[in-house]
Symmetry: C2
Subunit: 324 residues, 2 copies
């Protein structure tokens, strides 16, 4: 039995779940940011105890606690450094604070993209594969890399920051301060910035959004489904950049499956998944493209609960000796 906690900027999703994914109790509460991170963590622990009680279990029956939360984390996965959307949180020892508040239960932190990758791997579209790359394209672009049955975290707990690989060297400015990042082309915030400039003011996207300055990928997807030419062209551009990203990951990691969240899952097979599969195959050697799976994420609105459980199922980074 696992306890999952997904900490977002505005909401916290908590659940008690079985290894197989069945939820025994679940609750979503507003994230209370008191300005004192220590107090915020203590509050999380209180709500967590309530959810465990709701599941009809003593706390001691929980085997592991997983916490999905906005990164960056420190290189030991013990502390949350300075997430932009958790004001007042700076270098917070969440792992040990929660462990102490929960009678010494083992607590595993993961950044939200890694936790989502684990969730789709254990409970969603990636079940049963050995190697998976997860990409989510919402406001920003996040990723998680699971290789040979293990989450790959990297030296700074920053592997999988695929949103900041450079699609175009010194290309479009990214909100992260760098240029040409995948996120500057595929991220929702960057796409909205572009739409404010290029969407036809009298077009369908502008109409749906109530003005080009309010346009987001949501309206582009809807207008494209209606057959709007501008929207279809924008989706084509998105598909090309996404295919480029997946081709690079394939030649680097040769994974079994890509699991694509958010916009891709919303846009669906015809608009995005099929064209992207075709573009990716065209840009790989046949031997490598054959059998490569490209799938939409499955968990949708249930993701926060499973992200917490996914984090609980992630092993701690091993520290065994490496080379001979």
């Amino acid at each position: 039995m696992l306890l999952g906690i997904d900490v977002g900027g505005t909401k916290v999703a908590l659940c008690v779940g079985e290894l197989g994914g069945a939820l025994r109790a679940q609750r979503t509460v507003p994230m209370q940011l008191s300005g004192d991170a220590r107090r915020d963590v203590a509050h999380l622990a209180e709500v967590a105890r309530e959810v465990v009680a709701e599941a009809g279990l003593p706390l001691a029956e929980i085997e592991a606690v997983g916490v999905s939360l906005p990164g960056p984390l420190d290189a030991e996965g013990a502390r949350v450094l300075n997430p932009p959307n958790l004001p007042g949180w700076h270098d917070v020892p969440v792992r040990d604070a929660l462990r102490d508040a929960l009678d010494g239960l083992p607590v595993q932190l993961e950044n939200d993209a890694n936790a989502a990758a684990l969730a789709e791997w254990h409970f969603g579209a990636g079940r049963g594969f050995r190697s998976l790359v997860y990409l989510t394209m919402s406001t920003g672009v996040g990723g998680g890399v699971i290789l040979d049955g293990r989450l790959h975290r990297g030296r700074n707990w920053s592997a999988g920051e695929i949103g900041h690989t450079a699609l175009v060297w010194d290309g479009e400015p990214c909100f992260c301060g760098l240029r040409g990042c995948v996120e500057a082309y595929l991220g929702g915030r960057a796409w909205a910035r572009r739409l404010a400039q290029v969407a036809p003011p009298e077009g369908r996207v502008a109409e749906l959004a109530g003005g080009t300055e309010h346009a987001t990928p949501v309206q582009v997807v809807q207008a494209a489904k209606e057959g709007d030419a501008f929207a279809l062209q924008e989706i084509g551009r998105f598909n090309g950049h996404l295919a480029h990203t997946l081709v690079n990951l394939t030649f680097t990691l040769d994974p079994d499956v890509f699991v694509l969240g958010t916009i891709v899952a919303a846009a669906g097979e015809e608009l995005v998944l099929e064209p992207v599969r075709r573009l990716v195959r065209e840009h790989l050697w046949p031997r490598i493209g054959q059998g490569l799976e490209i799938r939409a994420a499955e968990l949708g609105k249930r993701l926060p609960y499973y992200a917490g459980l996914g984090a609980a199922l992630s092993e701690s980074p091993s520290t065994e000796a490496s080379s001979a």
Copy 2:
């Protein structure tokens, strides 16, 4: 005690070495391509027996045999599929044939780039690190990815084909048939093609090469060391593309160290390594760039021997269950 065999298009390097890297016997012989791959492999086994005898050991004292050879390999690492520079070799069961010819010793095959990565990790510039990405830029561009103390091979034994990640989507044609590959910008053959077009016919590079049509990166490096403006500009272009490649790998894998072979090792600190380190740092978040090592490969001419030993030290791909 390990037996290493490095099979190239023209030469085979064999050695008997200790786990720590000390060589007990070594020999380089011409690669005999009879047109019959089965006979070629039997010949390799004969020479291998001689080298073991030369080391003063009975065959039974060899713990593992490693074979580095041109890819592609099949997904089990048992067969060599169709290396362009091994005429007559098509789908050759090298692993089992060598095992049978060597009294049942365990034999591990690796493609040459993966074997070189293992060699630099165990015996060269990557010693002691947990995660390493190796890149070699000679005629083509090869790579190997070692993560958390294990070679990552991927679904088709094709992870680390970093030379064919797309630096520019639909960019310069690559000899592999795709476009915009890293190899189309950083590979020696592609660079020579470019030099034939852009090198000044009266310039220093053409002079050193005996004509622009014979120019290769070797003359560019030499002319750049002499201060030639065109050559320095070419090196600057190379450095930019290399930095782009390393930035993308860092945001994806967050490794401890990059080990760069061939041209980079030849060009050295001032021309390539220092400028590339600076460019990479400028294109990463400070938190991620800090402490990232970018090093020249160390093994140089000894690489073939150590590539065989590296392959011998690589564990077989594990087949343990993956997801819950």
